[in-house]
Symmetry: C2
Subunit: 435 residues, 2 copies
């Protein structure tokens, strides 16, 4: 199914009749799609089965093993080792460029480590300040579009979210530098590399400005979710400056909490999560962690150590992920270019890594596009989900998650998505002309 000749020009420049014709064609194509009875889910950045198979070695790592002592002499099967296996901390240390003793391992979810850090701020506070629950209304900066689960955690604790526009270089730092003058602003969410969903990697200058930040609140914390630190998809991967080293230069290392995990390296449901922080923060976190649990799952950490070996092992594994993901990203980008290129009704990202393609459709059309796709059997991430409170001010942002569906299904889903974008855009243009 190819575009007709009308589609080679910007839609808005067409005559009323031409737009009507384009709308009718899109509508006809849409009905055809509906009749196919598709059932696809592209809502989340879930790795596909072939990716999961790359890490099957993790499950074999403890096969026929009878020795479970780690380098400290602790039996990995028993209680203890509050901060996790030294060998696994060393792998994260190398990947993140942070000393191993500033790293704490969690279980399978870095989201849970973030939740717990926000909870700790809420119930006990940071840097000797009053807990946030006793400080009246507090606020968090939320670069947007961003990660819906960050926003959900913030909202759960009743922390007011202030959206900050995402630029090509990362969040609008002029705005952030102004906003942190407010003492009730207690932190900022960041996905600094291959940002969810924009694919933007923060520029060196953005990272430096975060490191130089002098917030009014002593208990301000940058939640640096480096979820895609090794998730490159091209030969020219983005380079992210090491924020911890930058902070050390300015004595601001207490204001950043850094997160990573193997969720999209080994298994989303059974990986290893990690948190890196300054000595003072680690001491604070230890007080809570040692009350909360008798240690994370060290056998799973041992499995990962035996399978991954070291940071190079991780990087080599990530090449396998790239081989599976890169063609899927091409399917998405090719479809967008072929079906929507030049129409002036959509812009999209060309990420060098990560899990998402960011699609901006005409203002006021995103909800309609997502609803149309759902009607025809393709579930996308809810429109608005990438903004605090689910409120996209332009109703234009759509997150495309190409990883999970098989290539053939992805092609179909993209075809439908492009039809839906054209249908919504032509309907909007017709409505405007009618006014």
């Amino acid at each position: 199914m190819k575009l007709t000749s009308t589609a080679s020009r910007k839609l808005a420049a067409l005559s009323l009749d031409e737009i009507k014709e384009a709308q009718q064609e899109a509508s006809r194509q849409f009905e055809e799609f509906k009749a196919r009875g598709l059932s696809l889910n592209m809502a989340r950045g879930k790795p596909c089965v072939e990716q999961l198979d790359l890490a099957l070695g993790v499950l074999e790592a403890l096969h026929a093993r009878s020795e479970f002592a780690n380098s400290n002499g602790d039996d990995c099967r028993n209680y203890g080792v509050w901060n996790g296996l030294p060998e696994m901390r060393a792998i994260f240390g190398e990947l993140l460029g942070i000393p191993d003793d500033l790293i704490i391992l969690g279980n399978n979810s870095s989201l849970q480590m973030m939740f717990d850090c926000i909870s700790q701020g809420y119930t006990h506070g940071y840097s000797g300040c009053e807990p946030w629950c006793r400080q009246g209304d507090v606020k968090f900066l939320c670069p947007a579009p961003g990660y819906d689960r960050h926003f959900a955690v913030t909202e759960y604790f009743g922390i007011q979210m202030i959206p900050v526009p995402m630029l090509k270089t990362g969040p609008d730092m002029d705005l952030i530098e102004r906003l942190v003058q407010d003492e009730t602003v207690k932190g900022c969410w960041c996905v600094p590399k291959y940002s969810n969903p924009t694919g933007v990697t923060f520029s060196d200058e953005t990272v430096r400005r975060f490191a130089r930040l002098k917030p009014a609140a002593k208990d301000f914390r940058i939640m640096w979710d480096n979820a895609y630190c090794v998730h490159d998809l091209t030969d020219e991967p983005d380079q992210l400056l090491n924020i911890y080293e930058e902070c050390l230069k300015h004595g601001t290392e207490d204001q950043v909490l850094i997160f990573a995990s193997t969720s999209k390296i080994s298994f989303p449901g059974a990986g290893v999560a990690a948190l890196a922080a300054s000595k003072r923060n680690i001491d604070d976190l230890k007080l809570r962690t040692t009350v909360q649990t008798i240690g994370s799952d060290k056998l799973n950490q041992l499995r990962h150590v035996l399978f991954l070996h070291d940071a190079d092992g991780v990087r080599s594994l990530m090449k396998g992920h790239r081989r599976i993901l890169e063609p899927k990203f091409h399917i998405v980008l090719d479809a967008l270019e072929q079906e929507l290129g030049g129409l002036g009704i959509a812009r999209w990202s060309h990420p060098h890594g990560g899990y998402f393609v960011n699609l901006d459709v005409m203002n006021g059309c995103a909800r309609q596009v997502v609803a149309l796709c759902k009607e025809a059997g393709v579930v996308l991430t809810d429109a608005g989900a990438t903004f605090p409170y689910g409120a996209d001010p332009n109703d234009s942002n759509i997150r495309i998650a190409p990883s999970f569906p098989p290539e053939e299904e992805l092609r179909e889903a993209m075809e439908l998505l492009c039809i839906a974008v054209r249908l919504a855009a032509t309907e909007k243009l017709l409505y405007e002309r009618a006014e």
Copy 2:
């Protein structure tokens, strides 16, 4: 090393010279022990290596497996299934006598699930009430002696702890029924079967009185930590009434949160934890859990399902644990009987299961006994740790954890402990006579 003849009578009934002689003998024996340069740790109820080896099959369960879908069709390696694998929930359901759909699985730590439940009360509240952090001073009932980590969680949140004496039938229910008339009392900790450290299993009447409890606080929660539900050590295991069923009879099912885990069934550091609760509580918990994490480690749950099969599989495995643990408990009890029996300076429990022997020495002697043991190289649980704020009002309670040391070391440690008890007691008696 046997006791001398003076030891066959109650110490307090001896003449001053006889006590002096007993003190000197104990002192000499103690110095001999110190010279041995022991280094043993009996501080925690840690399973021993032989116990951990019983569950090695867990690690083989996914060997050479290529199929990871559970009965719902979800790939256990991927994100999702917020409440855990249905098959594993079914095993806990059968063990606890509670419908599977009222069970949520966690990761490796039931303590973490308890911490999170207390945290949820603190930050968000239960049953539509204000969060505890907004209600001013709130209190928790703490049957004592009890589990130090329960008390640590309570103290972490600044919740005032009210000790409640443990009787042979469980906590003093007359007192609890009076105390819950206070609306600021928000909950009560319980280890209802083979209680840590007393070994007491709550009587049917105690369970019924908990179920009939009508606390003034609508957001009152019984933290029912059924950690030792299948941890029998004799042919006449204690029977615990099903509190959930009892609560249903009185419409009080919202006031109990039930916890269990395989920490002492498979691996302490890598087991599966579970929480059971009423439909209304599960709905409340779901709101938090689905924000906090994208699911617990389902691969580890699948490992456990494949290894354990069902509740009978668990019970059969527990017979293996009993074969290892029962002789260790006998070593402890035989040593106490042989070295301290009839002296009138100590009482101890004869538990039918669980992980501890509860030793009560002469008032004012527990800290001294633990310090003496430490001096000679044997680390026991800190004296006082079994009471809120570490404050044993009588300074008499000592928790003996026989599971971890090899039998020979356990014998040595018990010999030392008995010497320390006699030394502390004779010193106390001499001090009293001198006054």
